[in-house]
Amino acid sequence: MGSEAISFYLFGAIAIGASLLVIAQRNPVYSVLLLIASFGALSGLYVLLDAPFVAVIQIIVYAGAIMVLFLFVVMLLNAPHEDTEHDERVHPLLRPGPMRFGAFLALVLAGELWWALGRGGDTGAFPGGAVSSVRVIGRSLFTDYAFPFEVTSVLILVAMVGAVVLAKRDNPRDRRDRGGL
């Protein structure tokens, strides 16, 4: 087994193991950290695919920026440990409705995976050529994929505006009703 194969299985095992532990954890802070570990392993896989730019962006954007915000929220909300045995009330996500919905989503995902894996052999190269070059990625982003790129940025803008609108509800009457919060 070459060093590339060893690295692939190592990174793959870390990514899957860490992702499984994310949902198996009771402590949300540990979940966030394990998700970062999983992203790190994914980034290693990108390096193996000769896409160092994508690997570094994965770390900067996902493991760096987005997960810091996740950690922030978890820390600020001071989310308690999920001790379901000792909890009198059933956790909202464990009620029958959400569980059925979750099972449905899992089935859809499994189906998609089965379909994607069944398409084996069709491993056509990326149309823009080698993805290792930042120049090529930039060019295809701003020419062939200009529309999806811009639409995505508008989507993120919408999310930002939505967050501001939701967070900035400083109506004084509203505040009095909810007891000072």
């Binding site: 730019f53 570094v56 922030f72 820390m75």
Partner: protein, 341 residues
């Protein structure tokens, strides 16, 4: 081949040890310069001119008791300083500090004075810096103390805010240099204009340099932006509950981060190892001198300027520095497009 490999390993070890000692040297410089600016003498007793003071401090720290609050999260409390120190060390791995050299014919092939030449070096530094935030945030959270938590939160908010301006200032340099490799960026700055002005990017990007250094000071949590450890408000911020060697690791990380920011600024704006009079193979002397000048500037700033207020820091970052860096980027892009700088 094997000689080159051995040389590469030795170089890596050398960088590691040099970074450790640069932190020690910086502690001494900081205390002596602080004393100078405050008209006192500073540490002078241990060794010549107090030069061995940092080593005495380290020995003292090693023999101190390692304390951990009972309510702290044991695993994360131990992990946080390790993350900080590891991130600080590894960021320097992609920073070149001299031209390729054969060590006076000792090696067959020239060796790059850089631990690893990655073609996206600039982004790697970014990625590792963004990992360093976790050390501070987790230290703040796992200590289970209000001062630590506030320090950690402030620090992460500050680092995320200033990372934007930092990145945009960097992007302007990348536009001019037309590459993401630090070595190529440095080599793009060799030579002189009109026979006497060095072709440093500093002269093409004066505002970019100012933005970069300001954001760099905020990124490394140094005064006047040292909110994560604002003594009057937060005791010692995120490392309030730390003692002994785990405290030392945070301390080490802070100084090494300063060295890294200065080294990157030297490579990006001050022409790296290029300079007059010395042959190319001794260029690292220029590099060291430039980094030392920037580090002195860091210390000078700390003991001259008072700390901002927290809301002022955020307002400055988002309302002044970020727009300024966006404008700088636009003007640079227009310049590159229309005048082909």
């Amino acid at each position: 081949m094997t000689a080159l490999l051995i040389a590469q390993i030795l170089l890596t070890l050398f960088v590691f040890i040099a970074l450790l000692h640069s932190a020690a040297a910086m502690v001494w410089v900081e205390r002596r310069v602080a004393a100078l600016l405050q008209q006192r003498r500073g540490p002078t007793r241990v060794g010549w001119q107090g030069l061995l003071q940092p080593f005495a401090d380290v020995i003292k720290l090693m023999f101190k008791e390692e304390l951990r609050p009972r309510a702290a999260d044991p695993l994360l409390f131990a992990l946080a300083p390790i993350i900080s120190a590891t991130a600080a060390f590894s960021a320097f791995a992609v920073v070149p500090f001299g031209a390729s050299t054969t060590f006076f014919g000792l090696l067959d092939q020239p060796l790059k004075l850089q631990v690893s030449d990655v073609n996206v070096a600039v982004l790697v530094i970014f990625a590792i810096a963004s990992m360093g935030v976790y050390g501070i945030v987790l230290a703040g959270w796992s200590s289970n103390s209000k001062y630590s938590l506030l320090g950690g939160l402030r620090s992460s908010a500050q680092m995320i805010s200033y990372e934007l301006s930092y990145g945009l200032a960097l992007a302007s340099v990348l536009l001019i240099g037309n590459t993401l490799s630090l070595t190529d960026l440095v080599n793009g700055q060799s030579g002189v204009w009109f026979g006497f002005i060095p072709r440093w990017f500093l002269f093409l990007q004066p505002f970019g340099f100012l933005i970069f250094m300001t954001a760099g000071i905020a990124e490394t949590n140094r005064a006047p932006f040292d909110f994560p450890e604002a003594e009057q408000e937060l005791v010692a911020g995120y490392h309030t509950e730390y003692s002994s060697m785990s405290f030392a690791m945070f301390f080490l990380a802070e100084y090494i981060n300063m060295v890294t920011v200065s080294a990157v600024a030297t490579d990006l704006y001050l022409g790296g190892w290029h300079g007059p009079w010395l042959p190319e193979s001794l260029g690292w002397i220029w590099f060291l001198l430039k980094v030392a000048a920037l580090l002195f500037f860091y210390v000078w700033m700390r003991w001259t300027l008072p700390r901002y207020r927290y809301d002022q820091l955020m307002a400055f970052g988002w309302k002044v520095l970020l727009p300024a860096s966006v404008i700088n980027l636009l003007v640079t892009a227009a310049g590159v497009l229309y005048f082909g700088l």
